[in-house]
Symmetry: C2
Subunit: 142 residues, 2 copies
Amino acid sequence: MTVDVERLTTVIEDFNTIFIRLPSVRRFSFSTLSVLHTLARGGPMRLTDLLATEQLKQPALTSLVAKLEQDGLVSRRPDPSDGRAMLLSLTREGRQIVRSRHANRVAQLTRLVDQLTDDERAVLADSMPVLTRLTEIAKEDA
Amino acid sequence: MTVDVERLTTVIEDFNTIFIRLPSVRRFSFSTLSVLHTLARGGPMRLTDLLATEQLKQPALTSLVAKLEQDGLVSRRPDPSDGRAMLLSLTREGRQIVRSRHANRVAQLTRLVDQLTDDERAVLADSMPVLTRLTEIAKEDA
DNA sequence: TGAGTTACATCGAAATTTGATATAGTTCAC
DNA sequence: GTGAACTATATCAAATTTCGATGTAACTCA
């Protein structure tokens, strides 16, 4: 079985243009949201590790994280295993923002999925484990 | 047939964290790439229409477009049907950038898809029309 | 131990984004 | 057809974000 990856890429690109814009509340910049999301998934993490995912240079990330700490969304504590490093994690409030955006996406996506046929919903359900596998492969690969 | 939209959302969110970062060349900001992508899909388009998609205020978009015009990626011409408006479109070079990023995604996604099983690839192939439908529904809905 | 490296912070400059406002074109009730 | 209200885009100065260069402290390992 072969997939038309060319077309698959286009389909995902187009889907993402709508998916990315699902959450209705626009309080934070792309950079900020990306940092919050990464910390939400990756648990406590050093600045340098964050740097790998975020499309920012280190001084910009340092200052963004400083601002997020001031705003009470991120907490910083020294890494016990390395005196140079800081461990970053989300505060309760930080997690709350990520969760609320996620909930918003779920709500909006539900409205869309409701308009599909049963068969289409079945296909979507089956695709979930495959997308998950693909995500894992990408992480290993990198 | 019901889908666990809660899980579906998470799956897509996680997939996107890797998908968004697939293209290896990082020459342009998120705002710039989004404008180029929107113009690539939406054909010639007025500044105000672009504004609806992009997460920028009007003056920022005006200045971004001005820069892109200077750089030869976007062309601006008066809208014949409205003397106040400008029609924006990609130049050949602008299209080339979008195409090259797309090609890069295709290449990287191909490497990932190659590592799936035949059955998984079949599921992926079947999911394409559904994702497309979902995208269309979202556009109508909005 | 000390030379080289790594993690993060600081600083000033450059780039981006914003709110307020200006200008020119359009619409529509009269 | 005229003018009041509205719309599309531009301009400007201020705020914010990002960057490159460089500093400081901690770690590594020969």
